[in-house]
């Protein structure tokens, strides 16, 4: 099992950032790597169990299922059902925690998965830096943060 962990500090309250990212169907609105997204079967995007079906900007199709959503913990957990990345048993968590001294929040994005040994390093880099840090960088551009 490989684990990838990326965290950052964003200069906006957890409530503000959460309202931006809680929509499971909203990745194209804030993540620069995502081209489009829809929820399968006409489900609403905050129904736990719903499936998002989206394309990355390089054309890859990914299907992910929402496993947990907490407005109390500012967190969501999801798994990959189908993707071109070559990962198995991929479960990721995106979570915000308020930083009480100042209007900031601590953002964590982590994933665990299995993959071919030869691809570990590349996948850790792609997911940790490309997907997760890429998302945080976009949020920091929108809300500020260093």
């Amino acid at each position: 099992m490989i684990r990838v962990y990326t965290s950052s500090v964003i200069d906006a309250s957890a409530d503000t950032v959460w309202s931006r990212i809680r929509d499971f169907n909203g990745l194209p609105q804030w993540h620069p790597g995502i081209a489009d997204s829809r929820i399968e079967n006409g489900d609403s995007s905050d129904r736990v169990g719903c499936i998002r079906h989206f394309h990355t900007r390089d054309g890859g199709m990914i299907r992910e299922r929402l496993l947990a959503l907490s407005d109390y913990d500012y967190s969501c957990v999801y798994e990959i059902l189908e993707s071109p990345m070559g990962v198995e048993n991929y479960v990721a968590t995106l979570k915000l925690t308020p930083v009480t001294d100042g209007a900031r929040c601590f953002a964590e994005w982590s994933a665990e998965f299995d993959c071919a040994e030869a691809r570990e390093r590349e996948l850790v880099e792609t997911i940790g830096q490309g997907v997760f840090q890429g998302g945080f960088d976009a949020l920091k551009r929108q809300f500020g943060g260093r």
């Binding site: 962990y5 950052s8 500090v9 308020p98 001294d101 940790g128 840090q133």
Partner: protein, 487 residues
């Protein structure tokens, strides 16, 4: 309602560096401004799960906290308060660090839940959130910026060798209850054969009033701290002390006053360990008084089946214990009390025949109903002097234990001969002089409490800082049962 405090911040240092400081359960006196002294009890290490740290805060408060969880993988430490002079109840706190991979910084999350006495929620919530957590964030930031963590351990001290601050109630001038004033003292590190005790409950005895009034100046010169007994927890022990360890729950009684304080260093020979079932306040309410009862009934009164025992102040701390124990020994227990309410409580505790008399008139009743008393236990003193003579049966034994109403005038030997009366004036400490003797008598008190022979008397609690009020109450004759000061 349980209070929940959460505070968090971001520290501009890698997590390994921050964790190296915070994982040490004994480091706060080096970086947190509110902590004056920190040490780990019992020579354990600061990363030993289960260890107890003892803090002295700069404001004089003392807090003992136990490490419940330490995780180097989760960068997490959970601990709880086991004892504190601040009223944080059921306090459990967790420190969690997380790496900020974006910039190699550290997210620090500090949270706790606790209960408080009613009305203090806001004040204590704020103290924890701002005084401890937020201040701690700033203090650690400064500590790291100044490189405090890189200086090594050379600055650490041996706190066990230091005197500890002790709050006390001190008498600067003999006189009324108002002469008991809050004060600050030091409890020295224990010398050979001594132990230092973090006191929680202190027994108030009428004897303390005599000391305060200056009736026995040789025993308590000025300025002086009264008090002959207390219960609490051992902080540390001096050389050559066996059978007592830091953290042990103990109680003591001793012939030298000084117990009205929060930390006290006393001879180990005075100290007995407390059974788990005996709470600190119960111990403080029953140790000296229970041993007194043991001496009165066993050594002096030879009380047994059929003994006609007259107990004055039968609803007082000693009176209730004497009555209950004497009844169990088969005695006929007659008591004097000053109110119907006290008569009810005295009866509940084994005094079969309470006589309600505010003016100490009882002799006629005792003579007409019982033919006199074989033993009189007298804490009243001069006001009951003539009545006692009349109430005593032939070959009776008058045990003068105290003189709440005023100093007993000399007793003429000629008056004793009229009824072959025996007169005793015992000091209980002369009957508890060795550790073995104290241990044996204390064990009898604990056993009597455990098997129901004695029930703990009603306890009236006062803060140590309000010792004057406790004395006022005791002297008012309005209290029922025992008075205890909570340190």
């Amino acid at each position: 309602m349980l209070q929940h405090v959460v505070r968090s911040t971001v520290i501009d240092a890698p997590i390994a560096r921050v964790w190296a400081v915070l994982r040490d359960f004994n480091s706060h006196d080096q970086w947190h401004d509110v902590v004056a002294e920190s040490r780990i009890e019992g020579d354990e290490r600061g990363d030993q799960v289960g260890c107890v740290r003892s803090f002295t805060l700069k404001d004089g408060h003392r807090i003992r906290e136990q490490l419940l969880t330490l995780s180097d993988t989760d960068y997490k430490s959970t601990y709880c308060i086991v004892e504190a002079t601040v009223p944080l109840q059921r306090y459990v706190a967790t420190v969690t660090l997380k790496p900020v991979t974006d910039g190699d910084r550290t997210f620090w999350h500090w949270e706790s839940t606790f209960a408080t006495p009613p009305g203090q929620e806001r004040e204590l919530h704020r103290m924890v959130a701002e005084g401890v957590y937020e201040a701690g964030f700033e203090n650690l930031r400064r500590y790291l910026r100044d490189g405090g963590d890189r200086r090594g351990a050379s600055g650490t001290t041996m706190p066990t060798a230091l005197p500890l601050a002790s709050r006390c109630a001190v008498v600067h001038r003999y006189g009324g209850p108002e002469m008991l004033q809050p004060g600050e003292g030091k409890a020295p590190a224990p010398a050979a054969a001594e132990v230092r005790i973090r006191q929680r409950a202190i027994g108030v005895n009428y004897f303390d009033v005599y000391l305060r009034k200056g009736w026995i100046p040789a025993m308590m010169p000025l300025p002086g701290v009264p008090g002959m007994e207390a219960a609490g927890t051992v902080i540390d022990v001096g050389a050559g002390v066996s059978g007592l360890l830091a953290g042990d729950r103990v109680a003591y009684l001793g012939p030298q006053p000084g117990a009205y304080c929060s930390v006290r260093t006393v001879p180990a020979a005075w100290v007995v360990r407390l059974p788990a079932a005996v709470e600190d306040d119960v111990a403080a309410a029953t140790l000296l008084k229970g041993i007194t009862a043991d001496v009165l009934l066993r050594d002096l009164g030879h009380v047994g089946p059929g003994t006609r025992l007259l107990v004055h102040a039968a609803a007082g701390g000693v009176g209730l214990l004497v009555s209950a124990w004497a009844r169990r020994l088969g005695a006929t227990v007659i008591g004097t009390v000053s109110s119907a309410e006290k008569a009810r409580v005295a009866r509940e505790h084994g005094c079969e025949f309470p006589i309600v008399t505010a003016e100490h008139r009882f002799a006629e009743t005792v003579q007409s109903r019982f033919g006199g008393a074989d033993v009189v236990i007298d804490g009243i003193g001069d006001a009951a002097r003539d009545e006692n003579f009349v109430a005593l049966a032939r070959r009776g034994h008058w045990i003068s234990l105290g003189q709440a109403s005023g100093a007993l005038q000399p007793i003429s030997a000629d008056r004793l001969v009229e009824k072959s009366i025996t007169f005793s004036r015992p000091v209980v400490f002369d009957y508890a002089t060795t550790p073995a003797e104290i241990g044996l008598r204390a064990a009898r008190v604990w056993a009597a409490l455990a098997d129901g022979t004695l029930q703990a008397p009603p306890i009236e609690r006062h803060a140590l800082g309000a010792a004057d009020e406790a004395h006022r109450r005791l002297e008012s004759r309005r209290t029922i049962g025992a008075l205890v000061l909570i340190a």
